[in-house]
């Protein structure tokens, strides 16, 4: 766990608090929020591997989330096996899908790449919605709750640690990308691909690697999410909104920083939970109001603080060090 201590006090505080909370707080509602904060944070960190570290901005990461969610749900309901096996199958499928998307990124840049990832998630959405015989189509699949670790039927406390595990996994990968040779090479590719290639960095292979890795991590979190929420349906798990959400947390927290996605998730998920409680009586529900705020936040953050919360924190620290 040395990746937590060396000059990473922020991460130690965030993950430490998450680990201690269930020992003190027993409120189910609060623990549920905590699980969601950790899971959304882990998903945004997974997105960050491709979007932040490799500069391959995807608006179709819901593809991998949906693959993971469906693999776990179908493994339980159709094949009567455990969700862990489903998670593994999901990872294998997502590696395949991520590899294809990664290859696309070699030919397409910026908006073109973003568009192709949206199209990919839409193809999956339509395919899963229409293939009724196997996936149950648009109705979705309720995932049965069977207590036990093997079936991922955990209580709230158990889920906090499960989500924390996913969060630490994704964080560990991010830290690796900051410290390792591959990470430095990726940063080179992100900043100037031609210059990186001229230095002999295999830019194309690295981009495919980053996108595939990001896809696999997203899929793992998708499988966990399906078991936690207990229901998957195609219009949610493959939606563009979901893909935007992964990106949003990372952008607000700070793209290309390890802790940024978690900071973004803390802010956005708490905001959502708070607004859900406040506006639950309003007739159109909280969803619209919450999303208006979140869209406005996205516009304002990319415009005025493109480096995100983590970037602002780093700037303040630097100023203090100077003074």
């Amino acid at each position: 766990m040395s990746f937590l201590v060396r000059s990473r006090r922020g991460a130690l505080v965030v993950f430490g608090l998450a680990a201690v909370t269930p020992l003190v707080v027993r409120d189910a509602y609060f623990l549920d929020s905590l699980v969601l904060i950790l899971l959304w944070g882990a998903l945004s960190a997974a997105w960050n591997v491709a979007g932040g570290y490799a500069g391959q901005v995807s608006i179709g990461h819901a593809s991998f989330f949906g693959i993971g969610a469906y693999a776990a749900a179908l493994m339980v309901t159709r094949f009567g096996r455990g969700p862990w096996l489903g998670m593994l199958v999901g990872v294998v499928l997502s590696i395949g899908a991520g590899f294809i998307i990664g290859l696309l990124s070699n030919r397409l840049k910026g908006p073109y790449f973003a568009l192709s990832t949206i199209a990919f998630s839409q193809v999956l959405l339509i395919g899963v919605s229409r293939w009724r015989g196997f996936t149950a189509g648009g109705e979705g699949i309720p995932v049965p709750f069977r207590p036990g670790f093997a079936t991922l039927g955990l209580g709230h406390v158990g889920w906090v640690y499960m989500a924390l595990g996913a969060a630490l996994l994704c964080y560990r990968v991010e830290v690796y990308l900051e410290r390792s040779r591959i990470g430095y090479q990726l940063a080179g590719v992100r900043e100037d691909e031609d210059a990186a290639e001229a230095l002999g960095i295999p830019a194309r292979r690295l981009k495919v690697f980053a996108v595939t890795l990001s896809a696999a991590l997203t899929s793992v979190c998708g499988s966990l999410w399906a078991q936690y929420v207990g229901f998957v349906d195609p219009t949610y798990v493959f939606s563009v909104d979901l893909s935007v959400r992964f990106a949003l947390n990372a952008i607000i927290g700070g793209m290309g920083t390890a802790l940024g996605p978690y900071l973004g998730s803390i802010l956005i998920t708490s905001l959502e939970t708070y607004l859900r409680a406040t506006f639950s009586g309003v007739k159109t529900g909280f969803a619209g109001i919450y999303l208006i705020i979140y869209g406005t936040a996205l516009i304002l953050v990319v415009r005025f603080v493109p480096e995100g919360l983590a970037g602002v924190a780093a700037r303040l620290r630097a100023r203090r060090a100077h003074a």
Partner: protein, 304 residues
Amino acid sequence: MDPARPLGPAQIDVLAQLAVATILLGGIYALIAVGLTLVFGIMRVVNFAHGEFLMLGMYLAFWTFTLYSADPYVVVFVSIPVFFVVGLLSYVLVMRGVIHASHNVQIFTTVGLSVVLQNVALVAWSGDFRFVRPWHLSTVLRAGSTTFNLTQVVAFLIAVALTIALVAFMKWTHAGRVMRATAQDRDAATLMGIDTDRVYRLTFAIGIAAVGAAGVLVAPLYSVYPTAGLQFVLLAYVVVVLGGLGDMLGAMLGSLIVAAVEVAGSYLFGTAWKEIFYFILFILVLVFRPAGLFGQRGAETLGV
């Protein structure tokens, strides 16, 4: 259809009907797509919120029809100045600040705008599916063996007229020439004394006016709901990429191709699967001809 069988009168009838359907659909798609391609070509911004302005146009048609029983095909002429102003406001409030920013900033600014507009519609008008049913929707026209309803034909004619007017505007007016000059070389245009900020403002307003009008036109043909724009905008991306981003004539041809794929796909495999065909077509085009069927190679690797 069994391709081995010789074409009898029945098959020819089917083909004629499919061809007419393709052309009618293509005309409307063209109007949706030209606004997107115009904004891209001149401002170098892919507007991910394009579909939401279409959705707002659909709601304009719905409310004017429901409250004042106004015919959508009269409202369409009112919608053009209305959406021109909406476009101006969106440019001034949102787009101006990011016009020189990186692609990522532009992508997420327009994505954010799309999320906001969708949910303003959701909060204001709820998520219910709404329908606009003017009298001409049930008027069926026959020409030879083909049939289609009056609404589709009028929508097609207005869409084509507006698209042609826009292309003519770009080609023959002074403002159009200035806009094309800015598209070709932003810096040189500035040196020639062109106020690029004004050009972008005008471009965005025109692009939004076109898509807003298209929204009013399609309202009677589809259901109206807050995320209605998504299906059209994805299709408009396909059209625009096929035709080459920024190429207006390419977009018109691209519309016909997408319409043909959609019509043939629905006929052969059923409407449930129709969207999957143009997304697969989209990915294939992105992979093999990312600069469009007629575009220059290499545009896509410049990251625009």
